[in-house]
């Protein structure tokens, strides 16, 4: 996690500054038993709370130096206060236990970090990635840790720091110094006394201000920032993407298979039509021609006639098979056309008159083979019943769409019957209901003696109804919930009205 941009609170450092500071003479990195109160003001007067200027043994321009040291806070204690001051000529990045606390590039100001909240008992590692632009270079550092039991730990920039070779990786996290990490060199005491002579290697640098950065807070690692969590999340995401791709591929394959199947069905339909239907028609035709060539009183005539009639009937039946198989007929409109044609033809030979009531706005929806075939069989059954038993003179075939449901009604104005008394098997009633159930639709029979009969078929349809099972389950549920309270009276009265 990146530390936010540095917000400086700048305060000019005066001599009256009352910061706890490190006594210059004390060995750094040691635990003193002085009470905290003794470290206060007066003693700090000349000090800035930092050690000496330290650097690598050699100094050159554009130099990067890695400075490292570790320290220990005794177990069983807590940190009451911890202030860290640092500056580097010319720039630095400061790390504590691998976490970057901040950076700076102006040696004229000391930066003070309040790390009270992020230090606890145990071993800690300080690391400074320092850079020298030109000429003299040095790190100035001071850390004063006041423990809750009154003890004070001080760490200053001194030769206890180690210089880490630049090629070392992960050095800012290393708990122990390696053998080739040499001690830092004190390049100059901080603030040479005004009266002392500046030695050749020393340089007269002193920061003029202290810049305080806001209190550093412990890094709270949320569970989603946890590496394992992120890896697992990534894993799940990758898994999801792969699954999607897999499903997509299967879908494409399935669509291809479906297209192939549809083409094959169209071909089979054509073949049946050409090879079987057309030949049967020719057979019937040849039979007719043979008849004409027989003498009028020949015994063979009626036999031949029956044969032709049979061939024609089979040819007609074949047409229905072709219609059912042909994938080009998989639409609601084709179903309506075919059902009407069937009804008209079937009724033509009877005294019953057939009335068609087909919605003008039938959608051009896919109406799958199993659906339209079963629905047609059910409608045929209903028409057959009406013609056989109703003694009606009018038969209505209505095809409408209501929402997601295709409503097909076969209605007659005949004598009707008592539904309770009817033998469901004989009339094919249970058969029709069974067919509709299989499609996820339903079948309702509204009749009473003298009031005609109305058979309603409801079948779900959907523009995207490729897998019929899925759609029928959904629409079947809604159809079931919608009709329970409706009652039979409106439909029945409508039937009576139609009968009149």
């Amino acid at each position: 996690m990146k530390w936010p941009a540095v917000y400086f609170t700048i305060g000019l450092l005066g001599r009256s500054c009352s910061l706890p500071a490190l006594a210059q003479s004390e060995p750094s990195g040691t635990v003193t038993n002085q009470p905290a109160s003794q470290d206060l003001a007066g003693k700090l007067d000349p000090t800035w709370g930092v050690g000496s200027w330290i650097w690598a043994a050699e100094t050159y321009d554009k130099q990067t130096v890695h400075l490292w040291r570790s320290f220990e806070i005794p177990q069983g204690t807590t940190v009451a206060k911890a202030n860290l001051r640092i500056t580097v000529d010319n720039a630095y990045k400061l790390f504590l236990d691998g976490r970057q606390l901040g950076m700076g590039s102006d040696w004229r100001s000391l930066t003070e970090y309040d790390i009270s909240q992020i230090l606890d008992a145990g071993r800690h590692v300080l690391a400074v990635d320092a850079f020298n632009d030109n000429r003299e270079a040095g790190l100035l550092f001071g850390l004063i840790i006041e423990l809750s039991d009154g003890r004070v730990i001080t760490i200053s920039s001194d030769s206890n720091w180690r210089i880490v070779p630049n090629e070392e990786r992960g050095w800012e996290l290393k708990q122990e110094a390696l053998k080739n990490w040499v001690s830092a060199t004190v390049v100059s005491e901080f603030l040479p006394r005004p009266n002392s002579k500046i030695k050749a290697r020393e340089f007269d640098r002193k920061p003029t201000m202290i810049v305080k950065v806001p209190v550093l807070r412990p890094v709270v690692v949320r569970f989603w920032q946890n590496g394992w969590f992120q890896i697992s999340l990534l894993g799940v995401a990758v898994g999801a993407v792969l699954t999607c791709l897999h499903l997509l591929a299967r879908l494409v394959l399935q669509a291809k298979a479906q297209a192939l199947l549809n083409r094959e069905r169209a071909r089979i339909a054509r073949d049946i039509h050409d090879e079987v239907g057309a030949r049967l028609t020719e057979l019937a035709l040849e039979g007719e021609v043979m008849q004409t060539e027989l003498s009028a009183d020949s015994d063979l005539r009626p036999k031949l006639d029956a044969l032709c009639e049979k061939a024609r009937a089979v040819s007609g039946a074949m047409d229905e098979v072709v219609w059912a198989v042909n994938s080009q007929r998989d639409t609601l409109r084709d179903f309506a056309t075919y059902a009407c044609k069937y009804a008209r033809r079937f009724v033509a030979a009877t005294p019953i008159r057939c009335r068609l009531d087909v919605a003008d706005n039938l959608p051009d929806a896919v109406f799958e083979l199993p659906v339209r075939r079963s629905l047609l069989l059910a409608v045929k059954e209903a028409i057959n019943n009406a013609v056989k038993y109703s003694a009606a003179d009018r038969l209505f075939l209505r095809i409408h769409v209501q929402g997601r449901v295709v409503l097909v009604v076969v209605e007659d104005n005949g004598k009707g019957f008592d539904l309770e008394q009817a033998d469901p098997l004989r009339n094919g009633l249970s058969n029709m209901k069974q067919r509709m159930r299989e499609l996820g639709g339903r079948c309702r029979i509204l009749t009473e003696p003298g009031a005609g009969c109305r058979v309603e078929f409801e079948v779900p349809w959907s523009k995207t109804s490729r897998p019929p099972a899925a759609t029928s389950a959904r629409a079947g549920g809604s159809a079931g919930s919608g009709n329970g309270s409706a009652g039979d009276s409106p439909a029945l009265s409508e039937a009576k009205e139609a009968a009149n």
């Binding site: 239907g277 004409t292 047409d319 009804a343 008159r353 009335r355 068609l356």
Partner: protein, 226 residues
Amino acid sequence: MTPPLTAPSGKVAAKLPLRVALVEDQRDTRESWRRLISSFPDFACVCACATAEEALQTLPGTKPDVILMDIFLPRMSGIECTSRLKAVLPKTPIVMLTASDEDEMVFLALKSGANGYLLKRTKPAEMRAALLDVMSGGAPMTSEIARQVIESFHAKATGRSESVSLTAREEETLVMLTKGYSNKEIADRQSVSIETVRTHLKNIYEKMHVRSRTEAVANYMSGCKE
């Protein structure tokens, strides 16, 4: 009232025998049809062509009374052939022969000038009746075809064909056909004679032909412009 459709009417009988021409590509079938038609009393099969091209060459000279045309022919289809024959023999009724009543094809044929259609498996007696009906000016139309006719007239017209539209009576007749009414029932409902209904239907056919012709011209013209 005209006599029942199944019986030959007087005015047809005057021109007996009916000279029938046949266009059918299957040799056996063509031969069977020829013999069957010849076996009908008052009918004569004067010409049996194997292809549309042969029909276009022969029939204008033969001038038959009625033409039976297979919808599916090799190379030029029966529909195209019908359209071309109509230009030469506008008065000659053409009846399409089809193995299965696929409405789309039948409708196309009717649009291009055919006067009716017969399923190939139609019984000979019914077939004879249907031919006589067409000869006497009948224009049979099923509810499925009626529906398509309405839709085609409602569809956006191209070229100058919008000048050809249905009268209210004609449209009413078509709507009643789609609902399954017979010609007789329509006549009763409209309080007109069945002959008037037949005239309506004939006019509808005629308008459909005109429309499809102007559409074809319009399409051709727009094709030239591009």
